[in-house]
C-alpha cells in the first residue's frame, strides 16, 4: 500500500504545518497580550554630579561680585561697544575672582548659556551682546578649555535667532561652537528640592557634557517678573511648554537655580547696554540706555540685585530675588561683598 504511506506522510506534514502556524500565531498573541499599555515616559534623569566633575579651588576672601566699568567706551549714539574694550573689562573683572582659569577645567568642556531668546539686533538690549559672548569664549579657550559650547533654547526660531543676532558668527570666529536645540537633545530632569517645577525636559545633551557652566545675561526689564537677569537666563536650558512657567514665574525662577546650583556656574551680567522698558523683547532704540558695565560673580542674588540697580529700581521690589535670598541662594546686600574695578 504505497499510496497509503504517501498519504499518511502528507497527512502528518500538513498537520505539522498547521500546528506550527497555529503555534506562531498563538505565541505572537501571547507575547503581545501583555503589552497593551503604551510605553511609560522616560524616567527623569538626575544632573546631580555636575558639581563633582570640576572641584573649583577655594579662594578665601574672594568677593562674590565684581563690577567693571569703562567710561572710555561711552558712545552717545548707543553704537556697538568695541570687542577689545569688552575683553579688557572681562579680564579686569575676573582678576579678583581668581581669573578665568579658576572656572575652567583644563581640557574640559565649557558650556556657555547666553541669553539668545529673540532674533533681535544686539543693540536692542534684548539679548546678550555677541561681542561679550565672543570675549568669554576666547577667555575660556585661553584658560585651557578643551571645547566651548554655546547653547540656548530661544523663544523664537533657534537657527534664525543665532544667525540674525550675529551670535553664530561671533562664536565661530572666537573658536566656540553653537549647539542648536533639537528634541533629541532634551530629557526630563528631576530638580532636587524644587517647589514648583515637576520633572521637566532640559537640554541634557549639553548639560550632561559640561564640566563647567558660564551664564551670560543682559540686563532687561521684564513685563511679568520685573527684571530678566542671570537667574531668569536659565529658562533657556529647558524645553517643553515653557509658557506655563509664567503662572508661577517667581517660584520657577528659584527652581531654575536649584537645577543649576550644583554646577556652581560663573555668572556674567552684560550691562554694556540696559533695556530699561518694554522688556523682555525691547524693539526700540529709545528703550535702551548705555551703562558700560560688566559684572561677574558667583552669587546669583547679589549679581542680579546689582543688575536691578542698573535698571534704576529697588532689588527688594523683585519678588523672586527676595524669595531666593530667603531660600539661602545668596545675599541681596550685595554692596558688602562687591568689589569695583
Amino acid at each position: 500500500m504505497e499510496g497509503g504511506v504517501a498519504r499518511r506522510r502528507e497527512f502528518l506534514h500538513r498537520c505539522a504545518a498547521t500546528a506550527a502556524a497555529g503555534a506562531v500565531g498563538g505565541g505572537l498573541a501571547w507575547w503581545a497580550y501583555g503589552r497593551q499599555r503604551p510605553p511609560r515616559p522616560a524616567d527623569p534623569v538626575s544632573l546631580a554630579g555636575l558639581d563633582a566633575r570640576f572641584p573649583r579651588p577655594d579662594l578665601p576672601g574672594a568677593p562674590v561680585l565684581v563690577v567693571a566699568r569703562d567710561t572710555a567706551i561711552a558712545d552717545p549714539r548707543g553704537g556697538p561697544v568695541e570687542a577689545a574694550v569688552i575683553e579688557r573689562m572681562l579680564v579686569r573683572a575676573l582678576e579678583p575672582l581668581g581669573t578665568m582659569a579658576r572656572f575652567v577645567p583644563r581640557g574640559g568642556s565649557v558650556l556657555i548659556k547666553p541669553n539668545a531668546a529673540f532674533a533681535a539686533d544686539p543693540l536692542s538690549g534684548a539679548i546678550a551682546d555677541p561681542r561679550t559672548i565672543a570675549a568669554v569664549v576666547k577667555s575660556a579657550l585661553a584658560a585651557g578649555a578643551g571645547e566651548v559650547l554655546v547653547a540656548d533654547n530661544p523663544i523664537a526660531a533657534p537657527a534664525f535667532v543665532f544667525d540674525r543676532s550675529g551670535i553664530a558668527a561671533a562664536v565661530a570666529a572666537a573658536g566656540g561652537r553653537v549647539v542648536l536645540p533639537d528634541e533629541r537633545g532634551f530629557a526630563p530632569v528631576r530638580i532636587p528640592g524644587a517647589t514648583t517645577l515637576p520633572p521637566w525636559p532640559a537640554f541634557t545633551a549639553v548639560l550632561a557634557r559640561a564640566d563647567a557652566v558660564i551664564g551670560i545675561a543682559p540686563v532687561k526689564d521684564h513685563n511679568l517678573c520685573g527684571a530678566s537677569l542671570t537667574m531668569k537666563n536659565w529658562y533657556g536650558l529647558l524645553g517643553g511648554n515653557r509658557s506655563q512657567f509664567h503662572q508661577h514665574i517667581h517660584e520657577v525662577i528659584c527652581d531654575l537655580w536649584r537645577l543649576m546650583r550644583p554646577a556652581a556656574p560663573l555668572l556674567i551680567l552684560d550691562g554694556t547696554r540696559v533695556l530699561m522698558r518694554n522688556g523682555p523683547t525691547g524693539g526700540s532704540a529709545a528703550d535702551v540706555v548705555v551703562r558700560n558695565t560688566l559684572a561677574v560673580g558667583t552669587d546669583p542674588v547679589a549679581i542680579d540685585a546689582f543688575g536691578v540697580t542698573l535698571l534704576g529700581r529697588d532689588p527688594r521690589g523683585v519678588k523672586y530675588l527676595v524669595e531666593a535670598e530667603a531660600a539661602g541662594f545668596g545675599t541681596l546686600e550685595f554692596e558688602r561683598r562687591m568689589r569695583e574695578v
Binding site: 561652537r177 533639537d182 513685563n223 509664567h246
Partner: protein, 525 residues
C-alpha cells in the same frame, strides 16, 4: 561622445542644480549665503509662469534685471529645438524619465507599444487652454500642474520633510543638531499627488509629460516653428518600428513625426538600426505633423471652462466680502485679488521661512487659494526682523520688502510714507484666557510681543478669589493700533490647542488704499 550621453549629463546637471537650490532655500541654509541664487532661477525661465501671470496682470514681474523675462530663453529654445527643454532641462521631466527607464519592459515589442502615440496626449492642450482662460480672468491656477512649481512645492512640503524625519529617526543626535524639522499642513496630500504622478510612469512612461503637463503643451504649440527637428530618410527606413523603443515623447518618429510631442531626446536616432533618422536644421516641412492632434473646438471648450471656472470658484465671496479669518497672508503679500493673480503655489516662501509659520493653505483661502501661503501660528510666528519670503517670490505675490520697510522705518515704494506692515490683528478669547477666565497669572502674550511699545499691555486689577480672598491680577489687552499681527502671542499662548489669543486678517495693511477697506479695522492707524 554619444549625444544621448551628453543629454543625460545635462539632465543630471539641471536636476542636481534644482534639488540643490530647492534645498538651500531653507531658512537654515539661507544663512550660508546661498539665498542670492534660489530656485527662483527655474521659475523665472518657465514660460508658463510668465504667460500665466502676464494674462492675469498684464505685466512681467521683475526686480532688477530680467525676472520673468528670462522665460524668453526657453521660449527661444522652443523656436529652435522644439520641446528640448522637457528632456534636457526640466527637473520634473528628468525624474519621470529616470523612473520610466527603470520600469522599462524587457521585450522590444512591449517597449515600442508603450511608446506609441495615444490620443490622450491631446488632453494637455485642453488643460493649458483652461488654465490660461482662468488666468485671463485673474485666477492663476497654473501652479497646480506647472512642473517646476509642482516639483518645488512637493520637495518643500513632503519630500524634504520625509527625508529629514527619516534621517532624524535613523541617526543619533550627538551634538549636530539642525533644529526641528519644518512640517507642513496637508503635506501628505501634496506628497500623495506627486507620488501618484511618479507611479503613473509604470503604466505609461512620462504620463505627466505626455498627457497633463501644461508647460509641455505650451512648448509643444511653439515647436511647430522649430528650426531643428527629427528627419526620417524614407529610403533607408524599413518600418521596423525600433525607433519607438525609447521614444520619450511618443511622437511617432518612424511615421509622420508629431512635432508637438517630440521631446528631442534623440534616443530614436541611436536606436534606428538603419541610420534613417537624424536631427537636422531647417528640414523640409513634408513628413511631419507640425501641430498637435487636438481639435480646435476642444481647445475652445477648455478655454471656456477656464473662463467660467474663474468666477465660479469665487461665487461664495470667500476671497472678498466673506474673507476667511484663517487666511493671514505673509508680510509683503499684495491685496488678495492681486495676490491670486500672481501666486503660483511654488512653495519657495514656505521653504525659506525660518519659523515654519508659513503653511500651504488647504481651504482656508477658498478652493482658489489651495496651497497658497498663509500663516498658521500653531507652527510658529512671523519674525519681525525677517522679510525672507518676499526675497524668493518669483512673481511678486509677496513684494520684495526689506526688514526696515516692513517695520515702517523706510518707505515702500521709494518716496512713499513709511507704513508698518500689519498682517492682521490679535484678538483675545477671554473665555479661554488664564487671567481673564481662570484667575491665573500668565501674560506670556505680553512678554513675547515684539513691538515697542508693546501692543499687548495689562492693567493690574483687584479681584476676589472663589473663597473671597483678595487677588491682584494683570489682565492683558490688545492695542490694535500697535499690533502687527505677527502671531508671537498666539504661538506662545500656553493654551495650545485653541489659543486664547488669535490673529485674524482684520486690519491688515495690504488691503488699505484698495477702495473698499473691506478688511480694515480702525479708521485711523
Amino acid at each position: 561622445m554619444r549625444i544621448t550621453l551628453v543629454r543625460r549629463l545635462w539632465q543630471a546637471a539641471f536636476l542636481g542644480l534644482f534639488l540643490y537650490l530647492a534645498f538651500m532655500t531653507a531658512g537654515l541654509a539661507a544663512r550660508l549665503g546661498a539665498l542670492s541664487a534660489s530656485a527662483s532661477f527655474f521659475l523665472e525661465i518657465d514660460p508658463l509662469v510668465a504667460l500665466g501671470t502676464l494674462c492675469a496682470t498684464g505685466a512681467l514681474y521683475h526686480i532688477g534685471a530680467f525676472g520673468l523675462a528670462w522665460a524668453l530663453v526657453v521660449f527661444a529654445s522652443a523656436l529652435l529645438f522644439g520641446r528640448a527643454f522637457c528632456s534636457w532641462v526640466c527637473p520634473f521631466g528628468t525624474t519621470h524619465h529616470a523612473i520610466g527607464s527603470l520600469a522599462r519592459p524587457r521585450a522590444a515589442e512591449d517597449r515600442c507599444r508603450r511608446n506609441a502615440y495615444r490620443p490622450a496626449q491631446g488632453l494637455k492642450y485642453v488643460v493649458l487652454a483652461g488654465f490660461l482662460g482662468a488666468a485671463c480672468l485673474g485666477a492663476v491656477q497654473i501652479g497646480l500642474l506647472d512642473p517646476l512649481a509642482l516639483y518645488h512645492r512637493s520637495l518643500t512640503a513632503s519630500v524634504f520633510p520625509v527625508i529629514e524625519s527619516a534621517a532624524r529617526q535613523a541617526l543619533p543626535g550627538g551634538l549636530i543638531y539642525a533644529g526641528e524639522t519644518p512640517l507642513f499642513q496637508g503635506g501628505w496630500l501634496i506628497g500623495a499627488a506627486v507620488l501618484a504622478f511618479f507611479l503613473a510612469n509604470l503604466a505609461l512612461p512620462r504620463f505627466f509629460c505626455r498627457v497633463l503637463c501644461p508647460l509641455g503643451a505650451l512648448l509643444g504649440l511653439l515647436s511647430r516653428f522649430a528650426l531643428f527637428r527629427i528627419v526620417r530618410d524614407e529610403s533607408a527606413c524599413t518600418d521596423c518600428g525600433l525607433c519607438r523603443s525609447r521614444c520619450e515623447g511618443a511622437c511617432d518618429p518612424g511615421g509622420k513625426l508629431r512635432q508637438s510631442e517630440c521631446l528631442a531626446c534623440l534616443n530614436c536616432i541611436e536606436d534606428c538600426p538603419h541610420g534613417a533618422l537624424s536631427f537636422r536644421f531647417f528640414p523640409s516641412g513634408a513628413g511631419a505633423r507640425p501641430r498637435p492632434e487636438v481639435r480646435d473646438r476642444r481647445l475652445l471648450l477648455g478655454a471656456c471652462v477656464g473662463v467660467v471656472a474663474a468666477p465660479l470658484v469665487r461665487l461664495g465671496g470667500g476671497t472678498e466680502r466673506a474673507f476667511s479669518p484663517a487666511a493671514v497672508r505673509p508680510p509683503g503679500a499684495v491685496e488678495e485679488l492681486e495676490f491670486l493673480k500672481r501666486c503660483i503655489k511654488c512653495g519657495q516662501c514656505l521653504r525659506v521661512c525660518p519659523t515654519n509659520v508659513l503653511q500651504p493653505a488647504l481651504l482656508e483661502a477658498g478652493i482658489e487659494g489651495l496651497w497658497t501661503p498663509i500663516l498658521n501660528m500653531r507652527y510658529g510666528a512671523c519674525e519681525k526682523n525677517c522679510a525672507l519670503c518676499g526675497q524668493v517670490c518669483p512673481t511678486g505675490a509677496i513684494e520684495r520688502l526689506t526688514v526696515a520697510q516692513r517695520n515702517g522705518e523706510a518707505p515702500y515704494p521709494e518716496g512713499a510714507t513709511p507704513v508698518v506692515v500689519k498682517l492682521g490683528t490679535s484678538f483675545f478669547d477671554r473665555g479661554r484666557c488664564l487671567p481673564w477666565a481662570m484667575d491665573t497669572p500668565c501674560n506670556v502674550c505680553e512678554e513675547v510681543c515684539p513691538v515697542s511699545p508693546k501692543a499687548i499691555y495689562s492693567l493690574e486689577t483687584a479681584l476676589a478669589k472663589r473663597d473671597g480672598t483678595a487677588l491682584a491680577l494683570k489682565l492683558p489687552r490688545v492695542d490694535p493700533s500697535l499690533c502687527i499681527g505677527c502671531g508671537a502671542c498666539e504661538h506662545a499662548c500656553p493654551v495650545k490647542d485653541l489659543p486664547a489669543i488669535r490673529v485674524t486678517p482684520a486690519g491688515e495693511t495690504r488691503s488699505r488704499g484698495w477702495g473698499t477697506r473691506e478688511r480694515g479695522l480702525l479708521l485711523k492707524g
